[in-house]
């Protein structure tokens, strides 16, 4: 923390006076609570005054989020929050912008904007609340709903492959990708903090329970009795270790013709061979395979998968402006109006 600029906020500084109107028991409550808890630390560590924090959302349950944060907030239209964030960041690069979206808002109607926001590497933090269902419209399938899932709009079962949000972000050349859980307060806060420190697009998928229309969507991986075996918490520079008491590791797959990139092995004898997580790895194939790991074949990866430094879009805009000014001088309106072949009438 920089003590020339102490920014001492509390959780209450980020609570607006609005009554929170999600369904009782919704995973969104927990996410809101963790964001409000970690914001004082984020503001202090990133030297961002509260008035420079902006939450922008689209449409959906999660998109009500900005109303509950006592910061600047913009509840926009379905899927378009990344587009608004682009304009905002280009105009005011000093703003700390958080985009709140969901699996329908971000991966369906706004899928195109999400891809392009990520590939531009605009400095925004995108929190995608994935509950694998449309909640606000009362229970239709979403782009992350599993094959065969029966909903009001898919009474015979979903017949399209689900999207893996992290794989999509990676394919869009994301510079920061992470996954966390609504119910794991500590992990959620840690990932948010890491995202806030990243300069560039930080894409965070938050697995979130909709207790009304898709209750228990992630119980098969996060229930207390199975989570150790089914979740892999990645940490940069550490072996990919999971299971009760760290009893398992991921090791490189053996045979040359094996289509799998890794295999699960007992930790004891295989610690030497355990894969070590490198969030800056340039091995794209490996990263893609890691992002797509899923239960039951593999544990589901959590935490920061990828974090690399790269110039942001708005920095490059500013850089081009500086360069153009060095080369051509600052813009002179009269000279611009007079440009080209002019003539004078006496």
């Amino acid at each position: 923390m920089n003590d020339t600029f102490p920014l001492k906020y509390t959780r209450d500084d980020f609570r607006s006076d609005q009554v929170v109107r999600w369904c009782p028991g919704c995973g969104d409550y927990s996410i809101l609570a963790q964001v409000q808890r970690v914001m004082p630390r984020i503001c202090a560590e990133t030297q961002t005054p509260r008035e420079n924090v902006v939450f922008i959302s689209g449409i959906g349950c999660s998109s009500r989020f900005p109303y509950y944060m006592d910061t600047y907030g913009f509840h926009s239209i379905h899927g378009r929050a990344p587009a608004l964030a682009l304009g905002l960041k280009i105009a005011r690069p000093e703003m700390q912008v958080w985009v709140i979206t969901g699996d329908g808002d971000g991966l369906s109607i706004g899928g195109n904007h999400l891809i392009h926001a990520i590939r531009r590497n605009i400095d925004v933090k995108i929190l995608l609340f994935n509950n694998r269902i449309y909640g606000l419209t009362k229970g239709q399938y979403s782009p992350t709903s599993e094959l065969g899932k029966k909903t009001k709009s898919s009474p015979y079962g979903v017949i399209a492959q689900p999207v893996n949000a992290l794989g999509l972000a990676l394919a869009s050349r994301a510079t920061f990708i992470a996954r966390t859980l609504d119910t794991d307060a500590k992990h959620l806060q840690r990932v948010l903090l890491q995202a806030a420190h990243h300069r560039g697009t930080a894409f965070v998928e938050i697995l979130q329970n909709c207790n009304i229309f898709n209750d228990g969507a992630f119980d098969n991986i996060k229930a207390r009795d199975v989570r150790d075996d089914r979740l892999l918490f990645l940490e940069h520079g550490k072996p990919m270790r999971f299971g009760a008491d760290g009893s398992k590791v991921l090791i490189p797959s053996g045979a040359a013709h094996d289509t799998h990139f890794a295999a699960v092995a007992e930790a004891g004898a295989n610690m030497e061979r355990a894969l070590v997580h490198d969030e800056a790895s340039e091995n794209e194939g490996f990263m893609y395979a890691l992002a797509n790991m899923d239960y039951p074949e593999f544990p589901v990866p959590m935490g920061v998968l990828r974090a690399v430094e790269q110039a942001t879009y708005e920095d490059l805009v500013e850089h081009q402006i500086e360069e153009a000014r060095e080369r051509q001088g600052p813009g002179d309106l009269q000279a611009l109006l007079d440009a080209g072949e002019c003539w004078t009438v006496e």
């Binding site: 008035e51 509840h75 926009s76 587009a83 608004l84 304009g87 105009a91 600052p330």
Partner: protein
């Protein structure tokens, strides 16, 4: 003017003075017709003439060569008088191939001059153009002064020393033709050579050299061959003193937005998606990084609109530009700007619709879309420039209104204005209108939807202002606090407030001017780009003694506050529009006035004669009606004649 070719053998005498010339260049879309036209226009402008241009080109970048589908044209009217249109029918047609001749010959005035490239008149090219025989020999060109010149072959010889190769040498033939035309109108090739050098000398010196040689060759060829016994000369126009440049509507709009950014003291963020005919605004603004202009291309039309709104929310001037189908995609986001009351400007360079329609052709059929094309009661301000250079002034107006009244503003240009050009008296930045920045509230009594008592604008509080943190969005707002509110009475009040805010802009825009007597038998009322044809037609009718006036609406929503009163002072009102009657519908609804329409939906601007003919018929008709009414008075119960609509 009309040309005559007596075919005498003496050297060219002193040139024959003519007032105006309308010349049309036509050829394949790969023949460089637009470049040729633009260069000759620039030369005419720099020579001090008043000018007006009409480029017309196919949507296909390269339709099959030599076919009618691939014909591109460029018409220029240059004059020693003050002119407002590119002219109706050309005096001279320059046709680079048979397809161009076939397409444009019918427009040429009787006795007009035709200049063709004889090297392109081959049986093969006749077949491509879908004609049976050589038009030079089958009587098609009877009555015209025809000059058939070996353009390609002489060009090839002229540029041979440069060593460009066959294909690139042949491409210089448009410069040869331009040289011929320069000679014909009594001018040297200096200005055009300078323009060629400015474009190519550093990047491609060989092309520059070849183009200059072809140009000079054309000039010398015409001189040696004594193409006509008298060259023609157009005097300088009596334009008001000042510094001038030639400008297209899209360029003028781009410059206007840059000026608005300076005047407002705010960054201009321009987010756009490529679409004909609006893309040139993106090209112009993208070059101006040193002005701090943040212009960029988005992934789609929706993102461009969203980014403009995001920029406006951040306190910048948020701008986007599009055309027809692109506007449909932006509609939802424009509704968000209405609801969040943010100052964005949406340029719609209208083109023929619906759907993809006629991408390169002009139309005015998006007025009702601008007015009503969103869900809910969703009023916006609308301005419409009336000429290419007026795009500069109205671009500034659009942002002045948007920022003072906190609302989205439509800028309705069209393909004709966007690509057409005219001389523009370059203003000094001191002469431009000043922006009055709305004051900002104190933290204690800040309400996100509190309103300025005069304009009803809400405060433009932007992120970064401490103590004023608040939330906005697309859900209905509570009056004042801006909090989400579903209360029935509040919704009705907010709908009315948003409408009233727009209607109060009428107090902040100039009254409508009438050209001609401020009362009389007929008012011709236009909007946007029809100004030139209407004004010219009315001037002509007035000079033959008709009781007719005209006025041009540059503000469509709200209307100028004196519009109703003006309509009441005329017996009849005619509204010419390039649509089926959209302004007419609005006027009838608003003023309960039986306005008449003149409607053209051909992707082409009005010709002066079309407007004039309608004026004549309405005035004649009125005379008939008066007589009939008198007759009715003496014989009650007789048939009365109904006022004709169209």
């Amino acid at each position: 003017m009309s040309h005559s070719d007596a075919g005498r053998e003496e050297p060219p005498e002193s040139p024959e003075l003519v007032e105006s010339v309308i010349i049309r260049f036509a050829g394949d879309s790969g023949d460089g017709i637009q470049t040729t036209g633009a260069l000759f226009t620039q030369d005419a402008a720099v020579s001090g003439h008043d000018i007006s241009t009409l480029p017309d080109f196919p949507a296909e970048i390269r339709a099959p060569a030599g076919t009618v589908a691939g014909v591109s044209s460029f018409q220029l009217n240059f004059s020693s008088r003050d002119i407002h249109t590119p002219g109706d029918r050309p005096d001279v047609l320059v046709a680079m191939n048979p397809a161009a001749l076939k397409t444009h010959l019918t427009d040429l005035i009787p006795g007009g001059m035709v200049i063709v490239n004889e090297d392109s008149f081959t049986p093969q090219s006749f077949k491509k153009a879908g004609i049976e025989s050589d038009p030079r020999e089958d009587g098609s060109l009877e009555g015209y002064a025809v000059h058939s010149l070996p353009v390609t072959s002489v060009t090839m010889r002229a540029v041979e020393p440069v060593g460009l190769g066959k294909k690139n040498s042949e491409r210089c033939k448009n410069m040869f033709m331009l040289g011929v035309v320069c000679w014909l109108y009594d001018r040297d090739t200096d200005v055009i050579e300078r323009l060629i050098d400015a474009k190519y000398a550093s990047s491609d010196p060989l092309t520059a050299q070849a183009n200059r040689l072809a140009l000079q060759a054309g000039h010398s060829y015409a001189d040696t061959a004594r193409l006509v016994p008298h060259r023609y000369h157009v005097d300088q126009a009596q334009l008001p003193p000042g510094r001038y440049r030639r400008i297209t509507g899209n360029s003028a709009a781009a410059l206007g937005f840059v000026a608005a950014s300076k005047l407002a003291g705010r960054t201009l963020v321009f987010a756009s998606y490529p679409i004909t005919p609006a893309s040139d605004i993106l090209h112009e603004l993208a070059r101006l990084r040193n002005f701090g202009i943040k212009a960029g291309q988005c992934e789609d039309e929706i993102a461009a609109m969203g980014a403009a709104i995001g920029a406006a929310y951040a306190g910048a001037l948020g701008l986007t530009a599009t055309s027809g189908p692109g506007l449909c995609l932006k509609s939802e986001a424009i509704g968000l700007a209405v609801m969040t009351e943010l100052p964005v400007v949406i340029v719609n360079v209208q083109r023929g619709g619906p759907s993809t329609g006629l991408p390169t052709k002009t139309e005015q059929a998006d007025l009702l879309q601008a007015m009503f094309g969103r869900n809910g009661e969703s009023p916006v301000a609308i301005v419409a420039p009336q000429s290419p250079s007026d795009c500069f002034d109205m671009a500034i107006e659009a942002f002045r209104i948007a920022t003072r009244h906190m609302c989205p503003v439509f800028f309705l240009s069209d393909g004709y204005l966007a690509n057409g050009s005219e001389p523009w008296r370059v203003p000094s930045p001191e002469d431009l209108p000043q922006f009055s920045a709305p004051g900002l509230p104190d933290a204690e009594d800040f309400q996100p939807y509190g309103r300025d008592p005069e304009t009803l604008a809400r405060p433009w509080v932007t992120p970064g202002m401490p103590g004023l943190e608040h939330r906005i969005g697309g859900l209905e707002k509570q009056d004042g606090s801006g909090e989400v509110c579903y209360e029935p009475g509040n919704h009705e009040r907010m709908v009315q407030l948003r409408a009233e805010k727009i209607s109060r802009i009428a107090d902040d825009i100039p009254a409508l001017d009438v050209f001609g007597p401020d009362q009389g038998r007929l008012l011709v009322l236009g909007w946007g780009s029809t100004y030139g044809a209407i004004r010219t037609a009315v001037e002509r009718s007035q000079s033959s003694g008709a009781s007719v006036s005209c006025a041009q609406l540059r503000y469509l929503n709200p209307f100028p506050s004196n519009l109703g009163e003006i309509l009441d002072r005329f017996d009849q009102v005619l509204v010419p529009e390039l649509n089926t009657g959209q302004l007419r519908l609005l006027l009838r609804a608003r003023f309960l006035k039986d306005v008449q329409g003149l409607n053209k939906i051909q992707g082409q601007p009005f010709r002066t004669w079309e407007v004039q003919k309608k004026i004549d018929s309405m005035l004649d008709h009125q005379v008939c009606k008066l007589r009939q009414d008198t007759a009715d008075a003496v014989s009650p119960g007789g048939d009365t004649q109904q006022g004709g609509g169209s």
